[in-house]
């Protein structure tokens, strides 16, 4: 697999005061692949995302996007550089409709003109099964729809790299199958995806590779079936003693 590297993290660390939550994590994401991230609660997965998206500053190490090092670029600039993300706890713009939520992302992050955004956003809504709620106030959406909105909004900003933080939680089997299909299609369109997920079967259905974090350290990385089978992973993540 020697495709071009889109995202590269080298020795990334993060501490909050004296508490170290990430310790020298390094990994690479190739263009067009889906990297799954697993790890116990509090392993530092979301924190890693926050540093890639610019919501948090790194305490050490480097992050490169498509060859350029990310330094102090604020989140909005990183979005324009092609990093789209969802939040684990949805953050809708509750005073706007679902459609308008997407327009923000398309018009700013995606850099489209407002008119160009219309058809595009309508399509994204359809893809994310939000079409019938296009004109509904985002504040009145159910939790599931809010999660869908997170995804739709991230897509609307036309990302090269999409960071998904637990978007399958709380879905029925049926719904998560649809979601997997959607993620596949997004990948097929050439979007590189990093997906944090606890709903393993969903993740396993799309991920090309898996990375496992535990207590801020990378403990495994590789082909999904192999990673899942590693005793260490089984122990710390799934609670199965070897």
């Amino acid at each position: 697999m020697d495709r071009e590297i889109l995202l590269k993290a080298r020795d990334v660390s993060k501490s909050f005061g004296a508490v170290r939550v990430l310790h020298e994590v390094s990994f690479e994401v190739h263009r067009g692949e889906v990297l799954g991230i697993l790890g116990p609660n509090g392993a530092g997965k979301t924190t890693l995302f926050n540093m890639i998206s610019g919501d948090l500053k790194t305490s050490g190490g480097e992050i490169h996007l498509g060859g350029t090092a990310l330094r102090s670029e604020p989140p909005f600039r990183r979005c324009k550089m092609g990093i789209g993300r969802t939040y684990q706890i949805p953050r809708p713009y509750s005073g706007m409709t679902t459609f308008e939520n997407l327009l923000v992302a398309a018009a700013f992050g995606g850099g489209r003109s407002e008119r160009d955004s219309y058809a595009f956003c309508a399509q994204v809504l359809r893809d994310c099964e939000l079409a019938d709620k296009a004109n509904k106030q985002a504040g009145a959406l159910t939790l599931l729809d809010r999660k869908r909105l997170e995804l739709a909004r991230a897509l609307a900003s036309d990302p090269k790299l999409l960071l998904l933080d637990e978007i399958a939680g709380g879905l029925t089997d049926e719904e998560s199958k649809d979601l997997v299909a959607l993620v596949r299609r997004i990948r097929d369109r050439g979007v590189t995806i990093v997906w944090i997920e606890h709903v393993l079967h969903a993740l396993l259905a799309v991920a090309d590779r898996l990375m496992v974090l535990n207590f801020g350290e990378k403990i495994a990385e590789g082909v999904p079936s192999e990673v899942i089978a590693m005793p260490e992973v089984q122990r710390v993540y799934m609670g199965i003693e070897a």
């Binding site: 116990p40 509090g42 979301t46 729809d145 939680g169 709380g170 799934m238």
Partner: protein, 242 residues
């Protein structure tokens, strides 16, 4: 054997929108009942209505045969019902310990007795002991879920309502939590568990109810209902793929 908690034609609405259309359920002492249903079926609404978080008529909810519908939430807690709410709802700005202590305080004030102590909770979720002084908002998503469960347990409930407690948890933790459920029930606590994972729901409960668009469409012993029955109840008989 009479029911600890029962609902009778429970109706609830959000403004003009009716979310529940006459739901009849009952829960017996020490019993675990699973509540499943697609997103937006009204499961959370059902729990909220019981807790007095939505206006309902007095006769619609009975506790030990006594009508309690619409009783203010805090008094419902005093009567022995606790909830792990959707979305965790922790007290941000307060430490983990203070979050839990609030529940201990109130239980002590009400003279509620039960087997739950901080020590026992720390055995269940060791990370909470470690993070005792950390403000809850800087916990990881899963850690927050643990605090929410702990907080409800420390209310020493006779009836525990759990709204998707596995959401966002690593498999290991889910396993541990569901492993703890029998222990909770052993103390005589009855439970209603809202769960998306049908397999998990079935295995953790004695009986189950399935909801669709604000109505109960299936009920039966968890061990007996079949996947087909559930599938039908989930999406309605007239369900067609458009």
């Amino acid at each position: 054997m009479s029911a600890v908690l029962s609902t009778h034609g429970l109706v609830a609405r959000y403004g003009d929108f009716q979310a529940l259309y006459g739901v009849d359920t009952e829960l017996h002492a020490g019993e675990a009942v699973a509540l499943i249903g697609a997103n937006g079926a009204g499961k959370s609404t059902f729990l909220r209505a019981i807790m007095g978080l939505l206006p309902v008529a007095r006769e619609m909810v009975r506790l030990d045969g006594e009508p309690v519908g619409g009783t203010p939430t805090d008094r419902m807690v005093r009567k022995g019902i606790a909830i792990v709410p959707e979305g965790r709802r922790l007290f941000s700005g307060m430490s983990v310990e203070d979050n839990l202590r609030v529940a201990i305080d109130q239980a002590a004030r009400m003279g509620a007795k039960g087997g739950w102590t901080l020590q026992r909770l720390h055995q269940l979720f060791p990370i909470l002991a470690e993070k005792a002084r950390t403000p809850v908002q800087s916990l990881s998503g899963g850690q927050q879920q643990m605090v929410a469960i702990g907080r409800a347990l420390l209310c020493q409930p006779r009836v525990l309502l759990c709204d998707e407690i596995s959401l966002g948890l690593a498999p290991k933790v889910i396993r541990e939590i569901y492993a703890a459920l029998p222990e909770i029930r052993a103390a005589g606590t009855a439970m209603i568990v809202v769960e998306q994972d049908v397999g998990l729901a079935k295995s953790a409960s004695d009986r189950l109810y399935c909801m669709l668009e604000g109505r109960v469409t299936l009920t039966g012993n968890s061990a007996e209902v079949t996947r087909e029955q559930i599938g039908e109840a989930y999406f309605g008989a007239g369900h067609a793929v458009v």
